[in-house]
Subunit: 191 residues, 2 copies
DNA sequence: TAAATAAATTGAACTGGTTCAAGAAATAAT
DNA sequence: ATTATTTCTTGAACCAGTTCAATTTATTTA
């Protein structure tokens, strides 16, 4: 939980008793490799902050049955289906542990209650969403504007920690390229 | 400005004097067709809310010199380079009026001051950013998971107003396909 | 309303990346 | 340790969508 406080403290300052208040709203949960945090069709009951391990968020193509990676999350990242969590509607997404993982969870009702009791958290969430939206916009741009190799190079620069922890075929899908293509790119000597 | 209040009121309630306070922080500006709101390299000084008309946000490819549409914005939408605005750093983006356009502008310092005086606006911005991030994630997903035709069909369903107001070649770029391809898709009878 | 400019269309040649298939290497389970 | 499973690699055939080029249609502007 220390990790979450540290993350929040980057944007707003917290008093001792505010930390305690925040703490009381969260549940820590452990997931085995392959265990689901969210399954397609069900409602995203919890917003998750990753304390340790790694998760993948993905959509299964109804035709080919293939996983399309939507996001990857490791320690110090958030992982949930924003839409499903906030509207409490059925999710199109699956979230599954890639490796043994520990997450801090908060339910929708707790989330609302916590924000009412501690309105300055609105600011924290506003800022991290701002950063998230910026990152997403660039990720989308790069998918069309740059070829597979440049995208992988940019990914290596930006997320070395992800590259080290996540299997290559999932990174390929995250980048919007086939696993075979990424393998061929990595085989090239001029990276 | 009434449009902005209406937009905000969808998520939080505003008192008469709060509206007045908000009003005092905004500048209304008119842009001619082709006029720039933001140019690559310069700092995004204002966050813009579109009152009337249409804007395009785009990045010019350094190699081909082609415009890559990042976003399209019409009446009742926000339009700015979030990253450049919040960090006051040089932008990679251009924002230009597609047609004669009226925008409401707020500077970074006014934005901060306004949020301090009226903290409940944090909540408004948090929620619209949440929705924005959700929309972006889906837009990115569709670019890889669906073919050009399905993307255009989904676009027609989701943004009929955009389709009616924006030239076809800009919509093509927004969807991540060539103008020629979109022309061919539209020529097909089974849309 | 005519000339100039911008936008849309169409066809042919091309290509970056996919898909399929089959084997090798690495990792996990017993 | 050995087996089972998952991940990675490599090559060949293929294709959705691009690029280029030339023409038509629509929209501005003087």
């Amino acid at each position: 939980m220390e990790l979450l406080f540290k993350n929040i403290s980057r944007y707003i300052s917290l008093l001792e008793k505010e930390r305690d208040l925040i703490s009381s709203y969260w549940i820590v949960k452990h997931l085995e490799r392959g265990e689901h945090l969210l399954e397609e069709g069900s409602i995203c009951r919890y917003d998750a902050f990753v304390l340790e391990g790694s998760l993948k968020g993905y959509i299964i193509d109804p035709v080919s049955g293939k996983e399309e990676i939507i996001f990857l999350a490791i320690s110090d990242w958030w992982a949930s289906d924003l839409e499903s969590f906030h509207n409490q509607t059925g999710s199109k997404m699956n979230i599954t542990a890639i490796s043994p993982t520990t997450v801090a969870l908060i339910s929708r009702s707790s989330f609302n209650e916590l924000l009412e009791k501690l309105p300055k958290l609105e600011r924290y969430f506003r800022i991290i969403l701002q950063n998230y939206a910026t990152a997403l916009l660039m990720r989308m741009y790069f998918r069309n504007a740059q070829d597979a190799k440049s995208r992988y190079k940019a990914f290596l620069m930006k997320y070395p920690a992800l590259n080290a922890q996540i299997p290559q075929y999932l990174i390929a899908s995250y980048l919007g390229i086939s696993a075979e293509m990424l393998s061929k790119i990595r085989a090239q000597k001029d990276l």
